[in-house]
Assembly symmetry: C2
Homo-oligomer: 422 residues x 2
């Protein structure tokens, strides 16, 4: 009967009905004897609408003012949610990120939380109230300016508050019943994962699973906060993300799930002189313009020419920037040409259990081969294998791999309740 | 070339185009060598939309949460305005009421400003920036909760900041060219008033002129801040509201203008025993439910019955509450009946010059009589005469009085630029 932090995404509070539904769920938790802290995102499309407005007045909005603008979104949803709870006869108080003590650095639009001092939240809880906190926002330590945490910020707010307040669980409410063995929109027979270790969840998040973001899981792992991902539309138990007990009660699954990602593009630097330092110069040029690259592959050099190809993937949105940066160093490095391909998909198989199962890679590749899917790139970690394929093969590939590893459920159990937003 | 505080209402920043137009005007003021502090209201109908949302989730929203909700409106407009200014190449920083040091009492939805500590505004100005401040909002001294100032709050924010910062003028931008001798929507030949004394403006504001609210003018008078009311749509000089120099350069106008108000209702308590203390008991009952009444008239008692009638006016929205309160004390006081009439209008003639002109009242009543308008109630102050008439006579009455006092302009000069909102 301890403290529970609950986070509701934008699709859960998209309209007045949604807010009232969420209010009832919160009150139920309170009635069950818990202290409740709620982190809420902006309603439905509010944030997108604010971004559109900003674009209309200024093509490149300033970070400080952009954050001031966007934080209006949670201010609306949290105040409405507090009102709805009070209307059910329970005390509720809403707090901005700043009031909740979410202290960040000064990097507007992508601030990092550096401290949480939730004195006002604790006081509200001690007084018997439910505390509603604006997700996604904080206040900078140096300049006391309003900041936002960037993508997935509300989940991070929730986990950070759970850590600071010593919550027994951080519940992340979304529009699906939990984390699935594959995207239920692609694989009808995807199964809900009951429990998953932080590290597997990190790999899934990093490679295309959109239910939880990497950053939030990383934060939870650091502070050992169990996350319970569940739907605000159903009453079902969702997925628990937590430390895997070492040789403990749980039989460790070989494979946790199959993630896919169609948001990346592939850049190939063709005809790079195969001598020490050339690859470093290429990736320095990329790093200098602050691009994050994902997979990197260097082909074996053709002995006859002394030239090699270097291929990497990165978010499509950053493709233009990468090409420009590389064109600038082309003369210095002396490569032949650049190839850009955004018609790719990445399919990743994740599972801590694959460490001890050497047959996993073979089964994975056989499944793809049997489905007639060609592999263009391969990259592996200790608990993950990723391949790049043509984008049109992605659904076929994910389904084939899902079946090959015995992940299919008996029934089509996956349900997506709300819209696609969070 | 001193400090100028400018306030822009919701109709001036109703959309992206409006925000860009206002941004250009602000930059022009800055280029003319002024330091500029801008107070901005929520965009267009934003506040009404937020109120509707609140009603959907809770029939009687809590004050604290309601304020948290409403303040999102200015947050959006001020951030967009700062972006638009920066896009024109000038530094601008937006500040919430709390950040701007607007300290209030804890009366949510109708907080009073009790202190202004604009340290961050001064710092922004010293750094050469334009400061954009959210109107209508502050932070409570005791609980550090977000508060709103109620109706006309943004104008009050502007005047309060002007006073705290020692501004040379507070410019209030609206959708008309200034204060007119009558509502230009009713009287086509209404003239713009060039200069008006605080006390005349207070009477106009109290009796139906909507350009400036009483509270803001009162604040300006107390701190002797000149207000310049003007249009954000035209470049015209507007109306200066300031101290009237005693026997100074200005010839004092006999009449400043004609105000009208159709928002009130009339309550008559019929058959009140005409003995000491009865009126007091009636108005104590009204005061106990926190109603503000306006005009009060007691008829001469009819000698035969020893009974009298007491009539008062109050905002229509509070009519139900007044009737309920009076019905409760009916037995104790022993009056006959209550009459409620919301089909009335109040027409007020305002001018400091009428003090020394005994013919004003006669001219006023003659004008109404000639127009066939019946007078139901009369109330006067030293610089104002108000009458209550049938609501259907109001336009005719205002025009007749306007003409009778020689206020008509040669041309139809009044222009209303934007919507009707502020």
């Amino acid at each position: 009967m301890g403290l529970v932090v609950q986070k509701y995404g934008g699709s859960s509070v998209a309209d007045a009905e949604g807010i009232k539904r969420v209010a009832r769920r919160i009150v139920d938790t309170k009635k069950a004897g818990h202290q409740v802290v709620v982190v809420v995102s902006a309603m439905g499309d509010t944030t997108d609408e604010l971004i559109d407005l900003a674009q209309e007045v200024s093509p490149i909005p300033a970070g400080r003012e952009f954050d001031m603008l966007l934080t209006a979104g949670e201010r609306i949803s949290m105040a409405l949610l507090a009102m709805a709870i009070k209307n059910l006869g329970h005390e509720a108080l809403s707090f901005t990120g700043s009031q909740a003590g979410v202290i960040t650095d000064s990097a507007h639009n992508r601030a990092r939380i550096i401290d949480v001092t939730p004195g006002r939240i604790s006081a509200a809880l001690d007084a018997g109230a439910i505390a509603i906190v604006a997700g996604f926002q904080g206040v900078s330590q140096d300049s006391k300016d309003i900041t936002t945490l960037g993508r997935g910020g509300s989940d991070t707010t929730a986990v950070a508050l759970a850590a600071a307040l010593g919550a027994e669980v951080c519940e992340i409410y979304t529009d699906v019943d939990g984390v699935f063995t594959a995207d239920p929109r692609v694989v009808k027979k995807a199964r809900k994962i009951e429990r998953i270790a932080y590290e597997d969840m990190l790999e899934l998040a990093a490679h295309g699973s959109k239910v939880l973001l990497h950053r939030c899981v990383e934060y939870a792992r650091r502070y050992n906060i169990p996350i319970h991902v569940r739907s605000s539309f159903s009453g079902h138990t969702g997925t628990w993300v937590q430390n895997q007990p070492e040789g403990g009660e749980m039989e460790q699954a070989i494979i946790s799930g199959v993630a896919h990602d169609t948001s990346e593009a592939k850049v190939t630097v063709v005809g790079v002189p195969d001598k020490p330092g050339e690859a470093a110069r290429i990736f320095r040029a990329i790093a200098d313009v602050e691009l994050n690259i994902d997979m990197v592959v260097q082909n074996v050099s053709a002995a006859a020419t002394g030239l090699t190809d270097i291929t990497f993937t990165l978010p499509k949105a950053e493709g233009r920037k990468a090409i420009d940066a590389l064109e600038k160093v082309r003369g210095g490095i002396g490569f032949d040409s650049l190839r850009y391909d955004d018609q790719i998909a990445k399919i990743s198989l994740v599972g801590a259990g694959m460490r001890a199962n050497p047959g996993v890679t073979a089964t994975f590749f056989e499944a793809l081969s049997n489905a007639g899917v060609n592999i263009e790139l391969i990259s592996t970690s200790e608990i993950r294998i990723s391949v790049v394929t043509r984008i049109e093969d992605v659904q076929e590939a994910v389904r084939a791999v899902h079946t090959a590893f015995g992940l299919d459920s008996e029934t089509d159990e996956a349900v997506v309740y709300g819209g696609t937003g969070r």
